[in-house]
Amino acid sequence: MAQTHYLYNIKNPLRRFRVDVYRGPALSMIVMFIFVVLLDLVSPTGFTQADLTYTASGGASLALAAIGQTLVVLVGGFDLSGGAIISFVNVVLATNLEPGTASSVSWVIAGLLIGTFFGAANGLVVAYLRVQPVVATLSTMFVAQGLALLVLDKPGGNVPAPFSQFFLGSLFDGSLPMPLVIVSLALVGWALLKNTRFGTYIYAVGSDRDAAGQRGINVRFVTFTAYALAGTAYGAAGVFLTAQTASGDPLIGAPLLLQVFAAVVIGGTRLGGGRGGCVGSAVGAYVLILIVNVLLVFNFSSYYATIAEGLILIFAASGHSSSDLPRTNWLDLASIWGRRRPAKNQEISVIPRSDKVHGLPGFFQRNADVLRYTMPAFVCLGIIIAIQAGLYGHVGLSYLNSQITLASFLIILALGQGTVVLTGGLDLSLPWAICLSGLLFTDWTQGDAASTIWAIPAVLLVGAAIGMLNGFGVVGLRLPAIVVTLAMNGILQGVALLYCNGTPSGMSPEFVHWIMTGRVLGFSPVSWLLILFVLFGVVLLGQTVFGRRIYAVGNSVRVARLAGVNVGVTIASAYVLSGVCSALVGILLAGFIGQASLGMGDEYLLSSVAAIVVGGTLITGARGKYIGMVGGVLLLTALQTVLASSSLPEATRQIVFGAVMLAAVVTLRDA
């Protein structure tokens, strides 16, 4: 155990252990307790045994998945494949289970093994092929989702009743629900693991990879195993879900994606690794599922529900400030709130990961690193275009035009999202920031070209305000970015629906419609404007003080601060930029469609992250060039176009998409 503390302390010598270690689970338990007491007081029947029973099963698969995700997050990873793996396990079991104990037992084992297999595949690609976790697991997500659709193209399957009864039953005369037993078993497994040498290694690797390696820890093996075990947990979640729903549904796991992250963060585990644990995540999962009951009891109906859910999410996470952000004088709000304290831990203990500085001239030599991670996207783009030409005979002006026009949204979003990611954050509020902006724009202009003069700046200001609020949450309230922006997305959704009362009104002005769909010298006007935008982005991130500050903050908050960078303002302005980009996309998307439509931003969340990462950006921040992100966007758009033009079934398309994306990025491995 002495070793634990030694390794633990590498990063943060002054940490008060014990209190800190149990803070995460303790806080999430307090939140859960508050919820239960609230439900008990407010609901007419109180929180009964029946409520306990169904809640126990309702949150179990999310809890199991969150336990798996926690392992990955603890070693400094990120796993997007959990939901799809759960779906795949679910459909395999639902189509194969037969009555009888033998079948049940063997398929439970098979489910766990399938999960482990996918997890191991993630681990292999991340640890040994050195591909970024986001890309590796995103590819796995597409492949697993595609396979799930191949097994079952629509909900169905059959699960024997005893199988469900076993997992949903209870012990000790009905007083202890079986799902709680299962989740507890998983947590006992975690407790055992944590107290072995391997458990220590997990924290060591997550805290400081290099230091752990120098201590003789096999970093790759530890990372690999964490992913594989996470897979086992997803397998368990899939098995449980199969019992709970007594059927198979190829889409059942997909919505768990963001929920799992929310559960992990509410449970006090820090994204980036090294701090937290599975107990908090499991409790976090139950907090999330109890939100449903809280909303019901207080009758937050439809439009207000997402707003209330967002606020509850922030409340639930409010105990966990992200400790790597300093208390800054961000608009001096912190000091007004009396939360400002003298900064501690000022020792510089983190070596910046920045690109090596070469003193030598020569473009290629100077930019070798940059080229190495931005070029592959462009090379792959060339290959894809060649394939398109080979398959459909010609790659004409109209093909290129549609590619650039379709890519324009993501190219703009990539600047905002990319900048946020470079600072080490993530903006999940894009979908409804886009949608709300589009709604406001069409409503304010009502198709009138003259009013665009004030409407466009006004909408961009709204975007900036959204970004400002995100920035305030992340910097001022020091909350995890995922929680703040996820909550913001829900709040914006509610606001958008309340504003338009469920039915968008107004049209996009003809002028904006023309920008997206008209032609100037063979290309849509937006294509030409995009050249300016990309130039702006490249200069902004590459040549300005702002850009240098962004990279500095992403490299190391502490070093940046000592170098005189106002970290808070820098981070907040990244979110503001993202908000403005979202607003701009909202305007253009409304122009593209002709009016605003509900949910029109939804598809841009995951794809914005995928594109910037494929373009060579490191999801943990600091590394990445805007031009590379643009390459990533063009590559993914071209790939989707090839697939959409084919008559391949959707399942196969998803598998191909995932596989190609991975293959494209394997060349991106950083040495």
């Binding site: 407010v42 609901s43 007419p44 029947t45 009964t48 409520d51 169904y54 809640t55 309702g58 949150g59 193209d153 629509k154 909900p155 169905g156 469900s164 949903l168 709970q244 729903t245 007594a246 059927s247 549904d249 889409l251 919505p255 929920q259 599922i289 449903v292 009951n293 019901l296 439809s302 529900a305 398109q388 109209s398 093909y399 549609s402 379709l406 629906l497 009362n501 469920g502 039915t503 968008p504 107004g506 049209m507 419609h513 769909t517 998307l589 593209f592 469609i593 009016q595 439509s597 509900l598 949910g599 029109m600 939804d602 598809e603 176009t641 959409a644 033009s645 084919s646 008559s647 959707e650």
Partner: protein, 376 residues
């Protein structure tokens, strides 16, 4: 110390609010029964309209005094909907109307609800648990009608593009399978591309843009879209294709689509851009949003001791070229007499789903779908 004080004050405040809530509960001789709606997505046009028709039905003269009606949202997450249904049962629901996220995943929760005497009615989607009541269209018929019209219009010959819904859902696979079965009868019809349009205009436009990049308009003879014929016509307009050359399209009931089906040059107030009459060769069938209202009625019938059928199939009412009629006010009576699209001055959003009418729901007119207000 200060913190302790604050905590106490908060607790006191919370307690007083709770007790106020309890005190202000209305006491009535005949307790109204509790009816819940568990809807899925907020943020989809059709879903909004369907929920509005249920609100309208609950607020109609017949039911207003008898029920308290509450709406909850589960989003796309089946786990949440399961939890929600369970919680609604605990909260004393007599009936739960559900837009089911999955036809199978809710079965256990629904069974548990039925066992406690709660009536569960699903609309649009289906719940396969036998104790549930279902209100939906015949999905296979939906897929068949559009495909058959297109095959007939093309005289059994040509290249077809299919824009489908969300892969992996029962509704989508049933529709697509039925459409393909029709096309299989015509060896000279070829499906050249197929993509998911996600049942929204934005998805439809993105999918179609990608397809057109490889298959130019002049190589396509017909389009089958679950949602988005309006988008298809608009894109052709932008590409400079004149009205008499527009590619025939079979699809659902969007307002803009039906306006485009009016003969080219028809004078209609409030039209602009591509939201205008263009003599679009097309069929537009309804997936009525009033299915939600019917589900509410079914639930009330069960509670009143009537014996409604377990499954209500709502007819899809295809509208062909030459059958489009503009409603003056959009009242149910008017729709009953045969109008099927609304004035662009009243419904400015061409993405609005205009197929509201069913013969079973005289309480539901345009105002119901827009604002949840029942007909007088």
């Amino acid at each position: 110390m200060r913190r302790e004080m604050a905590t106490r004050m908060l607790l006191a405040a919370a307690l007083s609010i709770v007790s106020l809530c309890t005190l202000s509960l209305p006491v009535r001789a005949e307790e109204p029964i509790k009816v819940f709606l568990s809807m899925s997505f907020v943020g989809n046009q059709w879903q909004e309209e369907a929920a509005n028709t249920i609100r309208a039905m609950a607020a109609s003269k017949k039911y207003k005094e008898k029920v308290t009606f509450e709406v909850q949202v589960a989003g796309p997450n089946a786990q949440k909907q399961i939890q929600q249904i369970n919680a609604m049962v605990q909260a004393g629901a007599k009936a739960i109307i559900v837009y089911p996220i999955s036809p199978t995943a809710l079965n256990q929760a629904v069974k548990a609800a039925c066992d406690k005497g709660v009536t569960v009615v699903a609309y649009d989607g289906e719940i396969t648990e036998p104790c549930a009541y279902n209100v939906h269209i015949d999905q296979a018929e939906d897929g068949r009608v559009g495909a058959q019209w297109l095959a007939d219009y093309l005289k059994g010959k040509g290249n077809i593009v299919m824009i489908t819904g969300v892969a992996g859902t029962s509704v989508d696979s049933d529709r697509v399978a039925a459409s393909k079965k029709v096309f299989a009868n015509y060896p000279e019809i070829k499906i050249v591309a197929e993509a998911n349009g996600m049942w929204g205009q934005q998805g439809a436009r993105t999918a179609l843009s990608k397809i057109v990049a490889a298959h130019p308009w002049e190589t396509i003879d017909g389009i089958l879209m679950q949602v988005g014929c309006y988008t298809a016509a608009s894109m052709q307009d932008e590409a400079g294709i004149p009205d008499d050359k527009k590619i025939p399209c079979a699809g659902e009931q969007s307002q803009g689509h039906r306006i485009q089906m009016l003969p080219s040059g028809t004078k209609v107030e409030g039209t602009s851009g591509t939201y205008r009459p263009m003599g679009y060769p097309s069929i537009s069938y309804s997936v009525p949003a009033s299915q939600g209202a019917i589900a509410f009625k079914v639930a009330m019938d069960v509670i009143d001791g009537k014996n409604p059928p377990k499954t209500t199939i709502v007819p899809i009412k295809p509208v062909k070229m030459g059958e489009v009629r503009i409603c003056e006010t959009g009242s149910w009576k008017e729709m009953d007499e045969g109008c099927n699209v609304f004035k662009p001055t009243v419904v400015t959003d061409p993405g609005f789903m205009s197929g509201i009418y069913t013969s079973l729901t005289p309480e539901i007119g345009l105002a119901a779908a827009l604002h949840g207000s029942p007909e007088e």
